[in-house]
Symmetry: C2
Subunit: 454 residues, 2 copies
């Protein structure tokens, strides 16, 4: 619909920027404020947990040679760097295990780029905890709305793009711009500059670059905001203009998803947190396998076949058999089926190379058959195990753990955080950081949190 696009600043951008500029933390409904806190809490845990991953180590060491004055904490790594570098590395860590958060409709992981940009900036320009949370809330809201507007029906988009890759920059830019108190015009520039780097296609999944895409989005967004603050300009029609974001990334955009109900409808309420460190579409399958193993004391050696009816999305994204390493295992439903049935748990250890390359896990995958069924929702599955003696057991999951209809509890989030952080910063610091994160709203200088997580 080329005629729907304009080349002048339009209503879409104006409505968004007006809302963002005027938003106040205390105006957000209580459930939105709490979900913001949960999103923030979860992603800090993921960031600490990923901090010593070899890919994070590689990027920090290599690009650290180009880093400037140490204004911001590289979380969980015991040193500081310039805010743009810290933001890149922290976001990379937050997503390296695919253990972060996912919007329940748009397949986007909003919190990492937004929170790491905000945290890096908070060490350079002090802000209090409530202001930090507000910036995070707005950045996540924008990320999810952008992605919905180009990918969730009635919008029609293409699975070719990494939704996080192409929206993360704006989310991070909005969060940073809010912390910088940019006016509507400069906020619009920040969004436009960030969109000039909206990038990432799906062939990258299951390689190191998969996590570099959100990280680059985070850095791009933070950079866009600091450039816009000084007056660097971008097209005012970057979002809604012809050859702009909506035009380029959607076959048919759905603008109301982006601009309607600002301050009333909050997409962050549909943000979900991963109980397992892998592609979210695999989660119902893991739930089913763990439940079958528990209820029927399944002996993996006695399993003849595992038949999975999965959502079409699970097949489209994760139909990868016999992954060779951790990065491929993230998005292999066969690996996780085997690991869950053999190990009875699905945590970081089940993701790492020794497990992925375990012959027992690899061979078991030959027993697994998965088919997509349009009648199966993204958070659902039906798994049937047939044993060598002919018996069979079926488990049907309607809403998997961590889904919007069956969310992780605060206590489960604390458990996940603790599991992630303890190996990196020890039990005592982890406990302190957990407490600080849950109470960040009252913190006078939000930068203290990153410093505590160093």
């Amino acid at each position: 619909m080329p005629n729907a696009f304009i080349n002048a600043p339009g209503d879409v951008t104006a409505r968004l920027t007006d809302y963002i500029v005027s938003a106040r933390w205390t105006d957000l409904p209580a459930d939105v404020r709490h979900e913001t806190l949960r999103s923030f809490f979860n992603i800090v845990g993921c960031t600490v947990g990923g901090a010593r991953h070899e890919v994070v180590e590689l990027a920090d060491t290599t690009l650290g040679e180009y880093s400037g004055d140490p204004h911001a904490t590289v979380i969980g790594r015991g040193h500081k760097a310039d805010a743009l570098h810290a933001c890149l590395i922290n976001c990379l860590a937050s997503s390296i295990y695919s253990y972060d958060d996912t919007h329940a409709e748009a397949v986007v992981h909003p919190a990492g780029p937004v929170a790491t940009a905000a945290l890096a900036l908070a060490e350079r320009r002090p802000v209090n905890g409530a202001d930090l949370l507000l910036a995070v809330a707005l950045g996540i809201e924008m990320t999810c709305r952008l992605s919905k507007a180009i990918s969730v029906p009635p919008a029609r988009g293409t699975v070719a793009w990494s939704q996080t890759g192409i929206t993360a920059g704006v989310g991070a830019a909005v969060a940073a711009a809010k912390l910088l108190n940019l006016d509507a015009t400069r906020l619009q520039y920040a969004i436009g500059i960030a969109l000039s780097q909206a990038a990432g296609f799906r062939v990258m999944h299951a390689t190191m670059v998969s996590s570099l895409m959100p990280a680059q989005g985070a850095q791009t967004g933070l950079r866009a905001a600091v450039l816009a603050e000084r007056g660097f300009t971008a097209s005012p029609a970057a979002l809604e203009g012809r050859y702009g974001f909506l035009d380029v990334f959607a076959d048919t955009p759905h603008v109301p998803a982006l601009v309607d109900g600002l301050g009333e409808r909050f997409e962050i309420l549909r943000n979900t947190y991963k109980p397992y460190p892998c592609g979210i579409v695999i989660h119902p399958i893991i739930d089913a396998c763990l439940q079958l193993r528990r209820e029927h004391a399944i002996d993996p050696a006695q399993v003849s076949t595992v038949r999975i009816k999965a959502s079409p999305g699970a097949i489209a994204l994760c139909d990868r058999r016999n992954p060779q390493n951790e990065l491929q295992a993230h998005v292999s439903l066969y690996h996780w089926t085997a690991a869950a049935l053999i190990r009875g748990v699905a945590r970081i250890d089940e993701l790492r190379d020794p497990t992925v390359q375990d012959p027992a896990i690899m061979e078991f995958q030959d027993k697994v058959e998965a088919v997509g069924d349009p009648a199966v929702a993204a958070d659902a599955t039906v798994v049937t195990i047939t044993l060598k003696d002919g018996r069979s057991h079926t488990c049907r999951i309607d809403h998997c753990t961590g889904s919007a209809s069956n969310p992780m509890t605060d206590a489960q989030l604390t458990g996940k955080f603790t599991d992630l952080a303890q190996p990196i910063i020890g039990a005592e610091r982890t406990q302190r950081l957990v407490d600080q994160c849950w109470s960040i709203e009252g913190m006078a200088d939000a930068g203290d949190l990153s410093r505590a997580a160093g």
Copy 2:
């Protein structure tokens, strides 16, 4: 053609990386070597000439706060920065006046990102002049081939993408990877990492971000190469895989344009250099206006109408009347028609705000009518001036100055370089730099060139 795409390392990437890894400067034909030198010479002049532009100043000052150890020269600005920052700012300067180079078929400006990435790296890891030129030759070749494969018939692409934005990263990555002597596997990673940031859509044109897109490409490419050197991986199918570069950016890719005739067909021979600091599709119109003014002593006050038959591309990209500032004037055929007829020249002064906002120039544009004609080639035009006394004069341009069929001479390039550089670094240093650039092939340490241009 989704079935044409694969998810494993393919022949396309392997052929490219094998060629790049094995290429030697002395194996390039003499005309290719000379055109590489011309491309390099031209872009260094553009970089020096743009170094003090207010947009470059803004970006250098703002992002300089995040820059690391001063390993590389920020050309024409009297200081050094880390190589990634220097690369970004130098590329921004090289393209800020839209005065750089353009491939004769693909609408891509290849030299800026490639040369600035190579120059920044050359100060960090010393190389000789011939090696630098080889890296530049290969980077330009890849940029042009990538763009042809997705946009030049028989390929079918979309005008929505900035061709430079989406290909510059790979060009810069290839140049940097060649200087780093990466093997084929790591070169493939570098290309993949760069592609993860392939970005930029056309709504950005005529704003500051327009020049930031190639600059971000240059920096992304350099970063990709240094990451790949240390073992950072990307999808081996980033170019030819499903949801990879060819799939995403072309409706119908034309793979032979990318991989056929490597080492035999050289796209750099079709690289052209701008005689006027504006969108290349406007150049034939400027030629015609200057010629009409010269041959018929046109008095602008006596002009009744100017009728332009232009290429469809000129209309698609530059049909912008009454630009308000330099950035908009870059891509306004009306502005340049007025400026050329009133001033009789078309240089940097005619681009800057005082000329753009000159009431005489602005009002004259009301006399100009431009229509696209599929029979008019991109380097051609027919301009008819009708005077108030009823007389009319027509000028037909078949191949404008600087086009592939009517290239700028080496002497013209030297004149352009001198005009650009003298206001920035003075006459004496300009003369020395001109001499150094033309003789870089014999330079033992190519970093000396950047240092001389500081």
